[in-house]
Symmetry: C2
Subunit: 320 residues, 2 copies
């Protein structure tokens, strides 16, 4: 099994790469090589098989095409310009998230071996005229350019799968919290930093009120689901290869209480509460509740509590 | 009011141009100029204002950009590679229907005057895991590359409208029957030719059985709806600017009976009934029933009978 991970330098890509190395196999076959692709050189990952790190922009068709000369059997396409950045720089978002994703699927098509492609779509797919509780089968009405681009990727994934060019599986990831590393331009960035930064001793601002509900999932659970997506037989997805990934709804206040129960109260004391209308407008456009029927039937998982998330963060990301 | 019509050489573009000339105004303001764009030079249209015909490929960003230097107030974007052709030549379909549509919206963005853009989406948007009776708000699951590309255009239309770059309105056109002119590579082409060709004295093949139901609309009604789309205030569409256009469901047999009632029985006798699995697979993937709630509320219209369609065809298209 040859593996290609776009966004392989990001926190999810790195966690996924390490989880795959720990497993050693996918779909019952040993992993023989892994290629991590990102805009900046992905950190090295130790493994018993070769792990290559490549630096290129997926919006460059030629560079993508060259990656697929090696005919990867499994592709995780995680690379994207995040929501806030795609909203601020419209051209950049379309170039990477639309053209770049199209390039990835074209690369897979050119390889000719119909690879399994797991695509990270996003909860930002939902919004606008959709009902408050998202169920399967409702018309997607994203309210950001990022969400729009992610849904376009879903449609491409379906069409390329229907044509037998890829064996695609698209997952609408809930807000991934708690993310390690630094804050980024994702509108959801604060949903990690108010926990991560404060537990690490820094102040962090929450731009929405305590009663703001969030549909979220822990990195460990998301990585498990990304791997599970490759394991499920493609035909079980049906003609729509894209699903709402299970997650859980908690308010910011409930998440802070869970952090306090695990970590103590000093972290929560470092949260400031200055409203940010730009962030609030974006995240209020997202839905906070979901009944992910198809995702659950296909065996995808949700967290049992945010306290687990806090404990996993302390163990996985800051070695406490 | 300056008007730009892409696909202005096609049968719908030509009918739309003539209907606009006959009205002389849109949105309460006189039409001052019209530009018809197509791959082959659009036929001239007589008018009291200048009507320019331009020949270019909308997949060429520079050519599209140059068209928008004149800052059209109203754009009807009808140009597309039709369903059968987009299925047979995947690259062509994506280049014109995805990149070309993106170019049109980018052209409108570059003009900077937020033009009204009426976009011809398609009934081919629907299929796959959708319910048999299409209602508003169901997740689109197109089963052709053409349908996929049309839905991607819808998403772009919404995002460009949300950003205030265009004032978009997308209409999912039912199968347009009876189309004048020659058969084309649209999978739905037979749904016109079995009436048009046989009334004009030629044989024509129906590749599906008589009990096959069709969601359809007459050209005259579609043109009226394309103009109405420009008249409706943009905000009445809500955050999803794309609607299912009203239409009606008849079986092929019911449509033939209506033709016979209006025209006599000799036309129907010229229909042959050889199955075509390729066409049948595509059109069976489309839905035949719809409850277009939002479209009806916004004042869009459906035909009262297919007999009307036959009479309009005889009057409008073959001057009988």
């Amino acid at each position: 099994m040859r593996i290609l991970i776009t966004g392989g330098g990001g926190f999810l890509g790195q966690k996924l790469a390490k989880a795959l190395v720990a497993r050693g196999q996918v779909r019952g076959r040993a992993i023989t090589a892994m290629e991590l692709v990102d805009m900046v050189r992905p950190a090295p990952v130790d493994a018993d098989f070769p792990v290559l790190a490549h630096t290129y922009d997926i919006s460059k068709a030629k560079a993508v095409h060259d990656s697929f000369v090696h005919k990867p059997d499994l592709v995780w396409h995680l690379a994207a310009v995040v929501s806030g950045a795609a909203e601020a720089d419209m051209d950049l978002g379309y170039r990477v998230n639309l053209n770049g994703t199209h390039n990835i699927f074209e690369g897979a098509r050119s390889a000719g071996n119909c690879p399994v492609v797991v695509y990270a779509s996003s909860w930002a797919a939902h919004g606008g005229e959709e009902p408050e509780i998202v169920e399967d089968g409702i018309e997607l009405n994203p309210q950001t350019s990022y969400g729009t681009q992610k849904v376009i990727g879903e449609l491409l994934l379906n069409d390329y799968s229907r044509r037998g060019l890829i064996d695609g599986r698209g997952l609408r990831l809930p807000t991934v919290s708690i993310r390690p590393g630094k804050a980024n331009l994702a509108a959801s960035s604060f949903m990690s930093s108010i926990f991560r930064d404060t537990m690490e001793g820094r102040k962090s601002n929450c731009p929405v009120p305590k009663d703001f509900p969030v549909w979220h999932s822990a990195p460990r659970t998301v990585v498990g689901n990304l791997i599970h997506a490759a394991e499920v037989p493609g035909e079980e997805f049906g003609t729509n290869r894209n699903i709402n990934l299970p997650g859980r709804t908690d308010t910011i206040g409930e998440m802070i209480d869970a952090m306090t129960a695990v970590f103590g109260s000093d972290a929560a004391d470092r949260i400031t509460w200055d409203a940010d209308p730009v962030i609030e407008k974006i995240v209020k456009g997202w839905r906070a509740h979901c009944k992910p029927g198809k995702g659950e039937r296909l065996g995808f998982r949700a967290d049992k509590s945010f306290a687990d998330t806090v404990q996993w963060f302390l163990k996985d990301d800051i070695n406490r």
